[in-house]
């Protein structure tokens, strides 16, 4: 277990006991990563801000939702942000589709990417490992995985978008996940495992 993961466990315990200082500390540690992820998926600052807000409030309201036996706090929290961001994109797509049908509006354009920031050393280190692992994927596998994860696309949408059978989307997705799992598992193990 990394030092940062141990610190997170302690902060999470304190947060569960109602410690606002622990909430602030977790916010300072993860807000940039969470916002970066939400921003990449939603493409809009307002939506990304809502996603991150809701994720932190969910953590505060029910800290017991995180179970240390299932892995690092980092992966739990960013997974939560990812789910909420994808749900937000899908909801916005439905709203936009209705609006487009009603008034032939142009699709909403994605805002310019924001400037990156520096965050905690252990998170930066893990980020490098994840990006390096992604770089090991064959381009066709990485494309499918990134459309699903960062693009919030369904497998059906991916098949249509890049014009391949849905069975190929599934095969490439699994191959990519298996490879990333192998590469990243070496430096990540659940608490108590």
């Amino acid at each position: 277990m990394r030092d940062g993961d141990r610190d997170d466990l302690e902060l999470h315990r304190s947060l569960a006991a109602g410690d606002r200082g622990a909430f602030d500390a977790l916010y300072l540690r993860y807000s940039s990563s969470a916002y970066g992820l939400a921003y990449r998926i939603t493409g809009q600052q307002v939506l990304a801000q809502d996603v991150v807000h809701d994720a932190f409030m969910a953590l505060w309201r029910a800290p017991e939702a995180y179970d240390p036996a299932r892995g690092a706090f980092r992966t739990f929290f960013l997974s939560l942000v990812h789910h909420r961001a994808v749900d937000t994109v899908r909801r916005e797509e439905r709203i936009r589709a209705r609006q487009d049908r009603a008034s032939n509006l142009e699709p909403v354009t994605v805002e310019d990417p924001a400037e990156g920031v520096t965050d905690a050393a252990d998170l930066a280190e893990r980020r490098i490992e994840v990006r390096a692992a992604l770089d090991t994927l064959p381009p066709e596998q990485r494309q499918v995985l990134e459309l699903a994860y960062y693009g919030g696309r369904t497998q059906v949408q991916i098949a249509e978008e890049i014009d391949i059978p849905i069975g190929t989307v599934k095969t490439r997705t699994l191959a990519a996940m298996r490879k990333l799992r192998r590469v990243l598992a070496r430096s990540e193990a659940p608490e108590g495992a």
Binding site: H53, G71, R74, A148, K170, L180
Partner: protein, 233 residues
């Protein structure tokens, strides 16, 4: 129906990425209910994929959020802490597939349902909730309660739920400061139950399900046959 581990792994990967739809999503829900909880290999795969999904978030790169976000959050902390007792974690999505296909439900008052369209919408919302990594499922007697942090709604569902004794019904109660308030009564349909109940965790403490004589008053439970969502380890 999927039964080989390669195909199951494919569905689990899509499930974790939230990229499944239609029959694939339904099959993943079924597997998460019927197969994964009892299969060490699949449980390990699912947990590994979930951790992977979290770590992939890091690769997006950090971006400083607006300065107004932390003050906004701080201002909401007082009202935001649930008073509810911690609930035990179990496999997400458990139970959702078990109620798909349920056509009708016997409810009253402010438990929503009885209308097939409303029920289908409600089940879809429950399935979406169950797929969240912070979703929780706990036993409430012969049924299960599904909830998630930040949601002011919970679901009670079950498959193979026994009929109560003749002349009796199941009743749902929401408990606030130890005082139960009647929410509605219901009977299983072919052993199946699916209820959607408004529940504010910042106000309400617990959910009870009881077996009551059908003609009993509804001001409080009169039966000792009663289950609480907090009766878990």
């Amino acid at each position: 129906m999927t039964d080989d581990h390669g195909s199951i792994e494919e569905l689990l990967a899509g499930h974790v990425l939230r990229s499944l739809t239609g029959a694939d999503a339904a099959e993943a829900d079924r597997l998460l209910t019927e197969h994964v909880p009892g299969c060490i290999e699949c449980r390990t795969t699912l947990e590994d994929f979930r951790r992977l999904s979290g770590d992939m978030g890091l690769a997006a790169g950090p971006v400083t959020p607006p300065e107004t976000l932390l003050p906004r959050l701080r201002g909401e902390l007082d009202a935001g802490r649930a008073r509810r007792r911690p609930l035990r974690y179990v496999a997400v999505a458990a139970g959702v597939a078990a109620v798909v296909g349920l056509a009708t439900i016997s409810v009253s008052q402010n438990i929503r349902a009885n209308n097939a369209d409303v029920l289908a919408d409600s089940m879809a919302e429950a399935a979406a909730l169950a797929s969240r990594p912070d979703a929780r499922m706990v036993d409430v007697g012969p049924m299960q309660e599904l909830s998630a942090p930040g949601e002011e709604i919970l679901y009670v569902m079950g498959n193979g739920v026994p009929m109560p004794p003749e002349g009796s019904v199941y009743r749902a109660w929401i408990v606030t400061d130890g005082t139960p308030t009647f929410v509605g009564e219901f009977l299983p349909e072919e052993g199946r139950v699916f209820l959607e109940i408004p529940f504010d965790p910042t106000v309400h403490d617990d959910l009870w399900i009881s077996v009551e004589p059908a003609d009993a008053p509804t001001d409080e439970p009169v039966s000792t046959e009663r289950w609480s969502a907090s009766d878990v380890a």
